[in-house]
Assembly symmetry: D2
């Protein structure tokens, strides 16, 4: 297919535990192996750096949408660095730019991104992260989300959503 | 006290049910009676319009931070209309501008605002709205939130948080 | 007239010279005397602080839309502080929220605000500041702007634009 | 060189004249031939579409940062589409993401981008567009800008700025 590249957004925290970081790395590798662009918040720590590391191991293309105004202080291995100077305002962009969002275990920033994704009609795959059905169901009437126990199952769910959208 | 006015943000949906709308109106009135500024997303429907109606009944000062670029299409009764042209990007502003946030029953937009509020250290009072402890606890290590069954209890909780901050 | 308050945005730099600062203070006082809300970028220096000082001398209402995420580090005397965390992204809000913009002598930030104002149809009064007709004319086909030599003439021009809009 | 890709931002209007559109197309082609990423506002008209067309003729990589919330209604040929839903708020991102900015003949939106670029230290090449020295000089004390009569001279100036920054 010609046309724009398919983008999978990977959201998650800076201060992630080792299991979460390991999952993010595997996830990044699998995203790259499928030929999808990996987009994240682009910080040089936690889920953001790990997913970029994984994607680059598989030769993928990586984009980081930063809090800050300068290109520096971004994750190592990003192909495209987009400083915004907008702080958490950039969370909206992360979501809108993604065809499908994968949320790794995170906190308030990640949860705001999940809520926005469901509100704007982006499907969300929750990788080893369950913020509760009460929250997920409340986000949108037509919310599409999947709980996935490991990165491989997460990527299966991503592929399913992309096929529904005619993008895989 | 001289200095800036205390701001209570009221978040909630456009398509709210009658009980939620009635709660928002009472909440707005109580906020105004305490002399706090009422800030909302400023749309002319649902929780946003109702909370402004209530505040104006009690002679309060009301601010709306809009999705769109123009002053029109805002809730009737707003004293100050702030168009942003930033769509959901303005959710961040609603939160950051509030000393305390009251979240009425809502969906994705409201839930993203709750998550951002807890992440940025703004206390949140949930008025007849429970998105689940799994979500709330995950938002931030030091998250401060209170479930309130009715507008009067919500305002009691707001006052408590303001007293903690030395603003009441 | 009931309805929302009329907002005059005052734009200008942090590092302004003494004449520019003095003009901003007089301008703020005159805006308040007319009963208009004064809106600025809300920093505690230069044109922003001086215009707030002037407005408060005359008992006006003052709003600051901040670069940063917290209420602190704002101009003294602001009645309403709106942190955005959006950096220069907040320039757009300053403009869209203003019925008329007065631009004091400034640099890149101020000039971007002038360009946005003219592009979004907000009239601009340039107080002792002339960025050149080549720039002003290029901004928009229907751009409305006035060069004013002193604060009193600037406020006369503001009143004229407000009358055209049925707001004075 | 490993590391992130060099980004050249091309700014300009929707309703450009034929000479300006032709220049934008040539500019896009030359940017791609140098291996730089072309970034623009991503609309399917005027300078934005033409620069993307030119870049794709030479096999370049193209990014569009959109006003709106959805991927549709973007320039044809974009490799990466980044909807923001932030309207003119996205102008800031266009600038911050660019290592060097080329401004084609435009109006208020383009002029706000030039002012922001100079204020944030991004060099600007003005292609057949002169908003006047009074404006350009006022933008920033250390502003770096070059007037270029045609696309080839514009790209020479871009290369010079990239060499200064150690990126070419």
């Amino acid at each position: 297919m010609s046309g724009r590249r398919t983008v999978v957004g990977v959201m998650g925290g800076c201060a992630a535990e080792s299991g979460t970081v390991e999952n993010a790395r595997t996830l990044g590798r699998l995203i790259a192996e499928h030929g999808w662009v990996l987009l994240s918040g682009g910080r040089p720590t936690g889920v953001m750096q790990a997913s970029v590391d994984g994607a680059k191991e598989a030769g993928g293309f990586t984009v980081g949408v930063l809090f800050d105004t300068e290109h520096a202080d971004a994750a190592v291995g990003l192909d495209l660095v987009i400083p915004t100077g907008m702080g958490a305002g950039r969370n909206v962009i992360n979501i809108l730019a993604s065809d499908v969002v994968v949320a790794c275990r995170g906190s308030g920033g990640t949860l705001s991104e999940i809520a926005l994704a469901l509100r704007f009609g982006r499907p969300v795959v929750l990788l080893d992260f369950d913020p509760g059905e009460a929250f997920l169901t409340a986000c949108a009437a037509d919310a599409r989300w999947t709980l996935a126990a490991d990165p491989r199952k997460a990527v299966d769910a991503v592929r399913g959503y992309l096929e529904e959208a005619g993008r895989a």
